[in-house]
Symmetry: C2
Subunit: 478 residues, 2 copies
């Protein structure tokens, strides 16, 4: 039951929706692909664009250099009382290949209005530009009505989330006092289903590695040398093919050490909320779950570690045929981790698994593209409950507590370095094609997302007022 | 024992060597990569260049169109008596990637003169531009001294040898009478070792296939879907990883049906000629033979079928890391075959091997890039013996009868369509880096190659004279 303060801000958010959308389009037009050094200037442009938006809210905002892409940090100079909140998001986006599968250029976003299906398409429309703007636009609506933000709200945006966040930890460590708050809100996750909002409390960790194998000292003719000299691509296939056993489990010895079985309460909770496994698979063209035999899709995605080959390359990949015996091959692999697994230990185990299988004359080299532990957020902290209630109000159905298969390593960093729990609220749908061609964000996600955050701001306003009352009647508060 | 006729032509070949080399440099400068459609015009240019060279020898030469790259055909209008010989070569070359491994641009050939090591570098310097020119330059030397060629010699050059020769069979079939001769000389093979020339009588066949696997209907986020949805690259690695058993043998059921054990005479012959296995492997940076356990390198390369992955591709292969779960992956694979194996049957077996291993929701598609049966040439034909003798004379050591691991499918076509045996004489060394960066051809290969062919022309001249004598004394001949 929103009070008048909240209702006024919700009306403002509705009125300003068109302008909010225009800002999202401008933001998506900046091709801020962090992993590709050709887009370094675009990443800075995206940071500057965001800093400008925050300045237009009356905040002290700045683009702060790092050894990689810059951070954007903003604080409210008004120094409002009440809960101290940090909002986090990322302005960088994934690469766009294969480009030919996009229906239109990925950085020329469009609003598609086809009856019930209204959405904005473009790289980053959902992950994370659309998502992070829901919070900024909620602040804008609130401030346009009330003249100030309802609590002490600061902002932190990075530009390296899609490439392992190498600058984030040093930045948090160097600015510990400035950035430590009571809680951090993160908007980079999914809904439970298209109608049911969710707060994510279980996050898998990750370990991203690249392995390169070398055999002969140069590419050879497959007829002149085939059979007698080792083929690097074949060797790579052999070794990667052994990484998963016939039961679908990852075959690295010791990989599952420390992994806890799914707690019976969680298993029961997940069973009680209808999850359409067949529908989930059908959305991506599948009908039978892969992975570990005998485990549900939900358990596999949220509570079990996984292994994927994200890319492989070697030999002649062009048009036609080249009868070559490749001397070199490489693969990028991703492990997703659950609580109890140590990414540094698993990196060692993975590299051992490969090197132990190298025959004579062959060499392996490795590169790391980042790693993080899994995180489980306690669902009974002071902010999760109120956030769940406001989501339930806005969407008209019970909001869920969910897990996510994707890694959000910053959540671990915020806890470890700044001592803050994260409240992860997200409005992305399963079919947003995040990281894929034709990424989209539904207008209902954007609109209800902004309105959801307005309601959360209302709760922060209540908390601030109740703190102020307690301060003015100290005897009652004790 | 060369008579004066031969000695004069040898002297001419020596005198003209500088000009011969200049012609080779001009030829290598034409980037006639047949498998790459961007080089279609260059292939025609190479054909026209060759036709011009043949015309300069007084031959009727023509560039003849095919649905692919053109053929070059030339005949001697003088209509000399004697053995009727066809010479075959190919003017197309392999692709040049990885370009960054070349010491200089592959189509800007250079003559490197470093003491004992004199060679010409560039794509095609050896395979097959340098090799085929040894014969043309021998004819030029012979003709410059004697005014005409010593026998009825015709020429056939194709431009699709490196991409499966799709136009050759129809062309041979359509021009059967024009091209049928007593024998065909082919210059596209190796020496036995750096000092020992060889005639190749055993050739492996080939089967080139591309397989593409598809799983989900688009690339996905490895965190959001990893474990629960099939990864096309992982599936491809699993299946290709199963293609070879732990003993190094190819694991496709029925693959070795019809393969004969190495004949004891051949095994004894190969044992009698010193073959430096360790040196052979060391040249390419290896020390231990791969492939089938318990078989010599020579047997594996010449008398056993082989399997290679020539290229693999899937997912994100660019700079940095992309946490993608690839929906699609493909590989180009090469099988080398021995007598007794039917490529059409093996294609079916290979495709079955893959499709039988496809899990639910996954699809495989295949493309064929050509196939040929293996060939064994009878070593007691009328041309092999004289050719062996002339090679022995020129190089000063007993010439060998060898096999080759590479496929020369034209040899089978010449036998089947035109009824001709092939005499395969080659001057390439093992370290010519054929199909690899920094391909080279030794000046000694080029020079002794030309001189070897001059001696072969001398034998043809003798045969022509002896035929003429038999014709003028018919009673003696009977």
């Amino acid at each position: 039951m929103a009070d008048r303060t909240v209702e006024q801000a919700l009306e403002a958010a509705d009125t300003q929706l068109g302008a909010s959308l225009e800002r999202l389009l401008s933001f998506v037009r900046i091709p801020s692909i962090s992993t590709d050094s050709r887009h370094r200037g675009d990443c800075r442009r995206a940071a500057e664009w965001l800093a400008g938006e925050l300045a237009s809210l009356g905040l002290d905002s700045a683009v702060r250099d790092t050894p990689g892409h810059p951070m954007v940090v903003a604080h409210d100079p008004a120094g409002v009382a009440g809960p101290r909140v940090l909002f986090y998001g990322h302005y960088d986006v994934q690469p766009v290949d294969p480009l030919e599968l996009w229906d239109h250029p990925p950085f020329e976003p469009r609003i598609v209005d086809a009856g019930d299906d209204k959405h904005i398409t473009g790289r980053g429309a959902s992950d994370d530009k659309g998502a992070l703007l829901t919070f900024i636009e909620a602040c804008r609506a609130w401030k346009s009505v009330h003249g100030h933000l309802p609590a002490s709200i600061s902002f932190l945006f990075e530009g390296e989330e899609e490439s392992g966040s190498p600058s984030l930890v040093p930045f948090l460590e160097a600015n510990r006092d400035e950035l430590s708050r009571d809680v951090v809100f993160v908007c980079d996750t999914d809904m439970w289903d298209d109608q049911t909002p969710a707060i994510t409390t279980l996050l898998r960790g990750h370990l991203f590695e690249e392995v390169t194998l070398e055999a002969a000292d140069r590419d050879l003719h497959s007829g002149m040398f085939g059979n007698a000299v080792r083929n690097a691509v074949e060797l790579l296939c052999d070794i990667l093919g052994e990484l998963r056993g016939p039961d679908g489990a990852i075959a690295i010895p010791g990989f599952y050490d420390g992994v806890q079985p799914l707690a019976p309460e969680i298993a029961a909770l997940w069973k009680s909320i209808p999850f359409d496994e067949a529908g989930f698979l059908a959305r991506v063209g599948a009908s039978v779950p892969a992975g570990e035999a005998g485990r549900s899709v939900m358990e596999q995605l949220w509570a079990r570690p996984s292994f994927d080959i994200c890319g492989i390359s070697g030999g002649y990949e062009g048009e036609g045929f080249k009868a070559v015996l490749p001397a070199k091959a490489s693969a990028k692999v991703s492990f997703r981790l659950v609580p109890g697994q140590d990414p540094d230990r698993l990196r060692t185990l993975f590299r051992q698994f490969v090197t132990e299988r190298l025959p004579a004359d062959c060499r392996a080299s490795f590169s790391s593209f980042g790693a993080s532990r899994a995180t489980a957020i306690a669902p009974d902290g002071p902010f999760i409950g109120p956030a769940l209630e406001t989501l339930t109000e806005e969407w008209g159905r019970q909001a869920a507590l969910a897990g996510t298969g994707g890694s959000i390593p910053i959540v671990g960093h915020f806890k470890r370095i700044l001592g803050m729990d994260s409240v992860m609220v997200g409005f992305a749908r399963f079919d947003n094609r995040v990281h894929s061609p034709n990424e989209k964000y539904d207008l209902s996600s954007f609109h209800h997302g902004i309105r959801s955050w307005v309601r959360v701001l209302g709760r922060l306003d209540e908390m601030a007022r109740s703190q102020a009352e307690r301060r003015s009647s100290p005897t009652e508060a004790r």
